[in-house]
């Protein structure tokens, strides 16, 4: 299970953004530890962890929405050049949730669309379409900014 720590962190950062990712990661692995003895032998541990992470990310998003308070415009940051591909990360953050999730689960973990459909609900084709739409949107955004 430990070997998937970095992958799950990457996924929750993509789906939630960096601020909430740590909590979602911790919740995911604690839930996984609790349930681990019941996991059938030979199960796909990575897909199972991404499934838990998906649910935890939704919980975190809902909790954040409940506690949201209006804030002023975010301050300008002057250090964007130091950060890795901030515009691509920001473009991912701007995607509609289902596209963002499909892109993250497929392109950051390599899970097949059949597994992603299990996580998101709907068909494998729908998951593939959501990821394709997401990638097309990212290309447009990045293209427009570069």
């Amino acid at each position: 299970m430990a070997e998937f720590g970095p992958t799950v962190l990457r996924v929750v950062r993509a789906v939630l953004g960096p601020a909430d990712a740590d909590d979602a990661w911790s919740e995911t692995f604690l839930a996984a530890l609790r349930a681990y003895p019941q996991l059938p032998a030979g199960a796909n541990v990575e897909a199972w962890l991404v499934t838990i992470a998906h649910r935890k990310a939704i919980d975190v998003t809902r909790a954040a929405a409940r506690h949201a308070v209006p804030v002023a415009d975010p301050p300008e940051t002057g250090a964007e050049a130091d950060l890795p591909d901030l515009d691509l990360a920001a473009a991912v953050a701007a995607l509609p949730p289902k596209q963002r999730q499909a892109v993250a689960y497929h392109y950051l973990t390599g899970l097949p669309y059949a597994e992603i459909a299990e996580i998101l609900g709907g068909s494998a084709d729908a998951a593939r379409r959501a990821a394709a739409d997401g990638i097309a949107a990212l290309r447009r955004t990045i293209g427009a900014n570069r």
Binding site: M1, A2, G5, P6, L9, R10, R13, A14, D22, W25, S26, F29, L30, L33, R34, Y36, P37, L39, P84, D85, L88, A89, V92, V103, Y107, L108, I135, L138
Partner: protein, 197 residues
């Protein structure tokens, strides 16, 4: 879209920090069944693993730390985490032992990986063969109540789940030869030399 991986970089230090947090939370919740860490020693990096009952496994590098962790997951629980805190007392005592400041280990032991006659042999070894002494396989068989079970004593030592702490390095052949050792003959000699000093 291979750039996507670069857009969400994950530093090892971030993962380590989160794993530390997870270990603490799991310990608090009582679902950290096996905590482990490694410690550098004069006989190489030792893997240490502890359940809530006590130290359950010490393993030499030649025994394959990954294989040992997998065996712990299979035999005890899949809830195995790198969680150094639980092993701090053991590490302190090992440091003292290798520095020549300690002659006896005083940490709770979890004997569950050793059963039957092998367990009897190892208990006698732990309590009856003191620091700086050696015993032959035959003598230990006699101590364990079965003088003819010399071979079984050899097996008990070879499969000792707690080497160093349960001192199978003190068991030598009756002809004076050093005999085999789970951690390799060189490690056995290092430990015997340390204790003879």
């Amino acid at each position: 879209m291979n750039d996507l991986l670069d857009a969400f970089p994950v530093e090892e230090s971030d993962v380590d920090r989160l794993r530390g947090r997870l270990a603490a939370a799991a310990e608090a919740e009582g679902i950290l069944d096996v905590a482990y860490r490694t410690v550098d020693t004069p006989v190489g990096p030792l893997l240490l693993a502890a359940t809530e009952q006590g130290l359950v496994r010490v393993a030499y590098p030649n025994q394959g730390h990954d294989a040992v962790l997998q065996a712990l997951a299979d035999r005890i629980s899949p809830r195995v985490l790198h969680a150094p805190a639980r092993l701090d007392p053991v590490v302190r005592q090992l440091d003292d032992y290798f520095a020549g400041r300690r002659r006896r280990f005083d940490v709770p032991l979890d004997w569950r990986l050793s059963t039957g006659f092998r367990s009897t042999v190892l208990h006698h070894l732990a309590s009856d063969v003191d620091y700086g002494r050696t015993a032959s396989y035959g003598a230990l068989a006699a101590l364990a109540g079965n003088p003819r079970a010399v071979r079984a004593v050899g097996t008990a030592c070879a499969t000792n789940p707690l080497p160093v702490v349960v001192p199978c390095h003190r068991v030598v052949r009756s002809d004076g030869a050093i005999g085999n050792y789970a951690g390799g003959v060189e490690a056995k000699r290092t430990l015997l030399d340390l204790e003879a000093a």
